[in-house]
Subunit: 172 residues, 2 copies
Amino acid sequence: MIDSSASSAIFQTGDTDNPIQRLPSGSHAALRTWLRLLICHRLMEGRLRNQLRAGFETTLPRFDLMAQLDRHPEGLKMRDLSRLLMVTGGNITGLTDRLVEEGLIERRDDPTDRRAYYVCLTAKGKDLFERMAGHHEEWVISMFDCMEEAELAQLSELLGKLKRRLADRIDS
Amino acid sequence: MIDSSASSAIFQTGDTDNPIQRLPSGSHAALRTWLRLLICHRLMEGRLRNQLRAGFETTLPRFDLMAQLDRHPEGLKMRDLSRLLMVTGGNITGLTDRLVEEGLIERRDDPTDRRAYYVCLTAKGKDLFERMAGHHEEWVISMFDCMEEAELAQLSELLGKLKRRLADRIDS
DNA sequence: ACCAAATACTTCATCTATGAAATATTTCTG
DNA sequence: CAGAAATATTTCATAGATGAAGTATTTGGT
């Protein structure tokens, strides 16, 4: 039987039942906003994960890595992938190993640097990615379809501002 | 040496260098918004992780679980924790085991249901949580301090709407 | 030209998280 | 009241992610 505890939790529990949403009344707006961001992220990621698994037997991290490679047909180094996906190098090593294993990507020597190599999509990988990309985009669009165009733009704008602020800070 | 590939990535790479932010021009606003949400989440989570580790030798999942228990002094069942934190039961089992091991929480029998029990903060756990909570709130507030009060309220509102929409959907 | 520092990548132990299956107990239904 | 279904939890294999340390190669300063 499927362990539905997580994915169905939010369908079984109304707003008023969920303490993560029922904050102490004096609580700061920032805290509430952070929790909402967290919840939206979890819900969206969970949904995309289920859809990618059901439709293509793959996962979001794999999809995201392939998406980067698709945008860079010349290939990317491990270091680039690590930066772009904002995860550690060790993580990329593992992901890459699995995708190579599955024949979706390949490593190519960098003639100018024997420490490094380029990672590229194989024909099989490119084919799979192209089949996934359209669906992925539709899924994302449909998750936002409760919002007016203007609201979406506003949300995007506000998140962009926050992102810039967070990325620009050097401290801690 | 610290592997700084992930955490420092965003400091070394400007907006224009980061393909995750430089979307194909025809790309839908929804996709851009999703990516921004993803990036904000990652940056904020990473920052909180570093701060919790540096200040208290603990992690965000542990903190979040303790936060739920703090709000529910009567205790919570595993099932409740799983729903509230939106993760699977197996995950809660592991987290709980570790926190019990550390003496921060405890399991109490439910006299009315021999399958279940209640999880509560110990005195040590309550004490630690109280010391962490204030800092945690400050950290969150400071991450949003680039935004006007009105902007923050707007962001919160939009995320709230999105959250409701995502939680209410039964489909996939 | 040398050697120290920086860089690219891997490895390892650990933690977080999933999905599926197993166990034990309770609840519901006929 | 018996048996089936539902519920609460654990276990297990596997994936994903971190932080820290290790290896190999390149860069840069003197």
